[in-house]
């Protein structure tokens, strides 16, 4: 028995003495506010205080807690409470998975130093990783926590920077995929391939299944439905559990369900591996005669997307200036701090799955197909999601725990380890892009010719989307009369490449924006002015021939002008430091590419006067749980405070689509606006009031005031409508698009968002290290529904762009952890000045455009451009690690 004080209360617990304290707190005591992100001391999510000192609970033996005073995020302590309030005020919690660790690390700091400065805060929080916020809001909150909390804020109209509505749970230690454990749940563990390509055979499974504590074993043979899924059904090729051969390292080949409380031990599992020669690069996979990874895909090519407009070759031949270049990127890992986790159980004959996800309806459909169930028999209840960034669009453990629950009739639970999460889930596509861009003597872009090859890994996932999005976007937001752009996705035995914030567009932007710098120089133009000159304007045609509207790139670029002038003047060498300034733009179409992409939102008033918003747009930290209600409330004309929120849950919320492609604020926002307006219209119709009337809700009465007239509607007296409400509205919005023809001509998106970022940095000319000094980010959001959340997106996207540019390199089997795979820490993100530009889009709700992915796109190319400006180094392979920068500097000199 180990006894200690937990948050002021004495506790005694029976645990193995060497058990991790995190395990004791979470699994034995049930205090799951403390999160586990890596079990290796690399992420700090599990930070707790032991006798006032912060430690990683995952590295702390239970026995050492004996007699100690342990404090966790569940504590009701004054410093912690002030920190919580400050985190909410500043928007410092996005997904919330790192928040408990951040709060505890900050508590240690504030106890010693109640009013730290930002540098002290960064130092103190350097041991906790956050993948969402870019840290700025967290540091600001910690430095501001000493202030008395301000009075309650704004009502929440569109445009008001209210604190996120789901924030209180996040600063208390929210309930993520690993945090709900149905009583009696089996512990499910996957056996995964240690090889990129290997045949395998099982031995005596029955003997292993008979081991004490083993409840059941499942293999591909046990899948009752179609053992193939993909986010795009036409490409379904990925098994939930692979039959031999396994096609990538980390692929699941068997499941073992252990009885509750039994340490899951796969040692001695009867499997024999026969490694086979693997194709690890697209170059190898495209060699004529190379074995086909999927028999129906010649040359191992999944797909090629293209956009052809006018005659690019002729345009380039006639150009005054032409630049040519190639660029290569690597696998990039999403590195959300929450590894995949969830639980499944049966309710009657319905399979319920509660797990982290970005796409509950897709999970439902895929899981049902794999398990051979009608979709009505699968219910997806998303947990709080500890970061997604695209990877949690694809199913991961949903069909696995679903299979176990379905087959055993018992609840089942699965929590991926960090290395399992990294090895088995999708990555950003490694890209090899090369081509030419030309301009005329005045610097106007004349033509662009490019080919991109994307390593899509073993299965399709979002490869088709990347192949289609890249040619559409590869001009950047610049008028380009002649375009020949091709992008192909090639299978290898590498990790499955999928969606990662930008679907290939960040890789494309790296190529085009670094070339534009060189082209501007050839044309004798300032690099920013070159971009302003070429920026798309309303009425211009894009590369796909779409006539643009609400085109915000010009105002974004011009907003940078004063900053650019200042920064160039300040960019003088200082000792061995070489200062540089870089700029890059982005544009990004919101929603699916020329495919249906509807969202449905429901709002109802009950007979008792409850106003209920069925909000099915999954919030993975970006803020849909706040933005969608703000829009709905504005459209309806009732205050946010009277709403009750339902969702996300496939049994309770209509389908608001997936949280991807920067679509929720735009598409689900439009549906919410429509639903709010429809409910408002229905109410007004009841009393024949005009649209200018004001609504209020008092008990079961809705009061409609118009001029001097007041009408009272007694909700309790109304008949029940088809949706079970006294009065309700359900509206669907599907963005109007026009399909792309064989040359990629069409109108693939209804709304585009725009942005431009400027990076100021210094390069250590002798070590090749980069010190980021400031990033100024101008983003056209159409209308900032919630400026605080919009800034949070910008800061977080920039942090991921910094990582992609300077440090992130996923190598299967080598960087499957968060100490070899580096993501930015508190000390790696410079001050960020966000300039919110609002060019309203007629299609967007209140003019709003998407933002989530845009914000990452310009950062890495702007960094490379600034490095080149500082040193002359042209880095053409990412990440720009110090040794690569130094080598590029020498190459430039020689």
């Amino acid at each position: 028995m180990i006894s200690f004080t937990l948050n002021g209360q004495p506790v005694s617990v029976d645990a193995p003495p060497s058990e991790r304290l995190s395990e004791v707190l979470r699994e034995r005591i049930g205090a799951r506010g403390t999160k586990v992100g890596c079990d290796a001391g690399d992420c700090g999510a599990c930070t707790v205080l032991v006798d006032g000192r912060s430690v990683c609970a995952c590295l702390y033996p239970a026995a050492r807690a004996e007699g100690a005073r342990i404090e966790t995020v569940e504590a009701g302590e004054d410093t912690l409470d002030r920190l919580r309030a400050a985190f909410l005020r500043h928007g410092a919690a996005q997904c919330g998975i790192c928040t408990p660790g951040m709060l505890m690390a900050a508590t240690e700091l504030l106890t010693a130093n109640p009013q730290p400065d930002p540098e002290q805060a960064k130092q103190a929080l350097g041991g906790v990783l956050c993948r969402c916020t870019g840290y700025a809001a967290i540091i600001a909150a910690v430095c501001d926590a000493w202030r008395p909390a301000e009075a309650p804020g704004l009502p929440g109209a569109v445009g008001e920077p209210i604190a996120r509505l789901d924030g209180a749970a996040k600063v208390a230690g929210d309930s993520f995929g690993a945090d709900h454990v149905p009583p009696g749940a089996l512990t499910v563990v996957a056996l995964r391939s240690p090889h990129p390509l290997a045949a395998f055979a099982f031995g005596d499974l029955a003997a292993f299944a008979a081991r004490p504590g083993v409840a059941a074993i499942f293999t591909a043979a046990d899948i009752p439905g179609r053992n193939a899924f993909s986010v795009i059904p036409a490409f379904a090729d990925q098994p939930a559990i692979a039959a031999s051969p396994a096609r990538f390292r980390g692929e699941c080949v068997a499941l073992v369900a252990f009885e509750p409380g039994v340490p899951p031990d796969l040692s001695g599992f009867p499997v024999e591996w026969s490694p086979l020669p693997a194709l690890m690069t697209p170059a190898e996979a495209e060699v004529p005669g190379a074995p086909l990874i999927h028999g129906n895909r010649a040359e191992n090519r999944l797909i090629e997307g293209r956009v052809i407009r006018a005659d690019a070759a002729s345009a380039l031949a006639a150009s005054a200036h032409v630049v040519e270049g190639a660029l290569a990127t690597t696998y990039v890992e999403h590195a959300y701090i929450e590894p995949e986790a969830g639980a499944a159980w049966m309710e009657g004959d319905t399979l319920c799955i509660r797990a982290c996800t970005q796409a509950p309806y897709m999970d439902r459909d895929d899981t049902a197909a794999i398990l051979g169930l009608p979709v009505e028999r699968v219910r997806i209840l998303p947990s709080a999601v500890g970061g997604g960034f695209g990877s949690k669009l694809d199913v991961s453990l949903q069909p696995l725990i679903g299979l176990v629950a379905l087959k055993t009739g018992r609840p089942a639970r699965m929590v991926y380890s960090r290395s399992e999460s990294m090895a088995s889930t999708t990555k950003r596509h490694p890209a090899e892009i090369s081509g030419r861009i030309g301009c005329d003597a005045q610097g106007r872009i004349t033509g662009l010719e490019v080919a991109g090859r994307f390593n899509t890994g073993a299965y399709s996932s979002w490869g088709p989307t990347v192949a289609n999005r890249v040619p559409v976007h590869i001009t950047g937001p610049y008028l380009t009369p002649a375009v020949s752009a091709r992008a192909r996705a090639v299978h290898t035995h590498g990790p499955v490449s999928g969606a990662f914030r930008g679907f290939g567009v960040p890789q494309a932007a790296l190529w085009q924006e670094t070339l534009y710098d060189r082209l501007a120089e050839k044309a004798g133009l300032d690099r920013l002015e070159f971009r302003i000159l070429n920026a798309l304007r309303d009425g211009d045609a894009s590369a796909t021939g779409q006539v643009m509207q609400a085109t915000g790139i010009h105002p974004c670029l011009t907003a940078l002008r004063p900053h650019w002038t200042r920064a160039l003047a300040e960019a003088r060498p200082d000792g061995h430091w070489r200062r540089g300034v870089g700029v890059a733009s982005c544009w990004y179409g919101c929603g699916n590419t020329a495919l249906p992409n509807p969202s449905t939102i429901r709002i109802g008033l009950t007979h008792r006067g409850e106003l209920v918003l069925h909000q099915g747009a999954t919030d993975i930290g970006q803020g849909a749980n706040t933005v969608i209600p703000q829009i709905a409330a504005q459209a309806l004309g009732l205050p946010l405070a009277v709403f009750r929120f339902v969702g996300t849950d496939t049994a309770l919320t209509p389908d608001a689509g997936k949280t991807s492609a920067s679509r929720q604020t735009f598409v689900s926002g439009r549906a919410a606006q429509a639903a709010g307006q429809a409910l408002r219209a229905a109410i007004l119709r009841l009393v024949n009031a005009g649209d200018g009337a004001e609504l209020s809700l008092n008990g079961h009465f809705v009061t409609v005031s118009e001029g001097g007239a007041r009408h009272r509607i007694d909700l309790s007296a109304l008949p029940t409508d088809a949706l079970g409400y006294a009065i309700s509205a359900e509206e669907t919005y599907d963005p109007p698009t026009r399909p792309l023809d064989e040359n990629g001509q069409g109108s693939p998106y209804a709304v585009y968002g725009y942005g431009a970022q400027m990076v100021e940095l210094a390069v250590d000319a002798r070590l090749g290290t980069v010190k980021l000094l400031k990033i100024t980010a101008a983003h056209d959001v159409g209308r900032a529904i919630n400026p605080q959340l919009a800034r949070g997106q910008i800061e977080g996207g920039i942090a991921q762009g910094i990582g992609m540019a300077l440090m992130e390199d996923y190598i299967p089997g080598r960087t499957e952890n968060l100490h070899d795979y580096l993501i930015p820490t508190t000390g790696d993100v410079p001050p960020i000045e966000s300039l919110l530009i609002e060019v309203p889009d007629p299609e967007g709700p209140y003019g709003a455009k998407g933002l989530g992915e845009h914000v990452l796109i310009p950062t890495a190319p702007a960094i490379l451009n600034a490095i080149r400006h500082a040193t002359g180094a042209e880095v053409t392979r990412l990440p720009a690690l110090p040794h690569r920068i130094l080598a590029a500097m020498k190459g430039d000199r020689s």
Binding site: Q123, P263, N817, G827
Partner: protein, 275 residues
């Protein structure tokens, strides 16, 4: 059921170790990664042994092996140990510094162990204890290779001894990585310099993460000893540095870069201390 012992008397700990089969656990920060929820096998937790805690003075300085990085960083120590304190503040994040110990860092014997370069410049001697008795050996002899030490299975690393002769002068530690915090070094250097009347009378320099173990740089030290502090870094010859290193190419950097960076870091550290 595996055993877990956390003795408070050194004799008890040594008696257990003499019986064999124990895994020694100090801060735990290098032991737990990659392990299941609880450690397998018998664990001897040495953090409750008073002999292994804290920093004491006498003939030189004695640092108990279970002294944490935070305790080292926060201690009032002479300038000769400022390099070690700089290293202490760069071992992982604050959480790791609060738990991780200097002795554990040495016994883990990573080529990139943050504590080693500074300790080498302090002529550190390790004290190993077993039921057979105690022995001391220079740190450089204790570290025999990557993840390899001269510690016998029945021994515990009790303390580090820094001779009084090495507690003089100024010191510095520089660590180079691809991000600000929580970083495994690409290269790191430590220097300690004693200067009298503008002339270097003693120079200790070492490099880590550029070979199987961190190493002192005798050629560099010889070249700088007796030289004026003014322009001292200019006397560091890259070939003298390279002679002691055997860096590798890995995900963090190329071998050639490591050697070049080590020289540059050394110049900067020397410039920092030589005045």
């Amino acid at each position: 059921m595996s055993a877990y012992a956390r003795p408070t008397r050194l004799d008890d700990a040594l008696a257990l170790l003499a019986g064999g089969g124990w895994r020694v656990l100090a801060g735990g920060t290098d032991v737990y990664p990659g392990q299941p929820a609880a450690l397998a096998g018998d664990v001897l937790d040495v953090t409750a042994l008073p002999e292994m805690r804290g920093i004491g003075t006498g003939d030189g300085l004695r640092i108990g092996a279970c002294t944490t990085w935070s305790e080292i960083a926060e201690a009032a120590l002479p300038p000769a140990l400022h390099g070690l304190q700089q290293a202490a503040r760069q071992v992982g994040g604050r959480q790791i510094q609060n738990a991780g110990t200097i002795g554990g860092n040495l016994c883990n014997a990573s080529p990139a162990a943050d504590g080693v370069p500074a300790l080498l410049t302090l002529d550190a001697v390790v004290e190993l204890a077993s039921a057979r008795g105690t022995r001391r050996l220079p740190l450089a002899n204790f570290l025999t290779g990557p993840r390899q030490t001269a510690r016998a299975a029945d021994e515990v690393l009790l303390a580090l001894h820094l001779p009084a002769s090495a507690l003089t002068g100024r010191s510095a530690f520089l660590k180079l990585g691809a991000r600000a915090h929580l970083v495994i070094s690409i290269a790191m250097v430590a220097v300690r310099c004693v200067a009298i009347g503008g002339i270097v009378t003693e120079m200790a320099a070492s490099v880590g993460a550029c070979g199987p173990v961190a190493t002192r740089l005798p050629r560099v030290e010889a070249a700088l000893t007796g030289a004026p502090v003014a322009g001292l870094a200019g006397r560091i010859r890259p070939e003298d540095v390279a002679a002691h290193l055997s860096p590798i190419d890995d995900v963090r950097a190329s071998a050639a870069y490591r050697a070049e960076a080590a020289t540059e870091l050394l110049c900067r550290a020397v410039t920092e201390v030589a005045r």
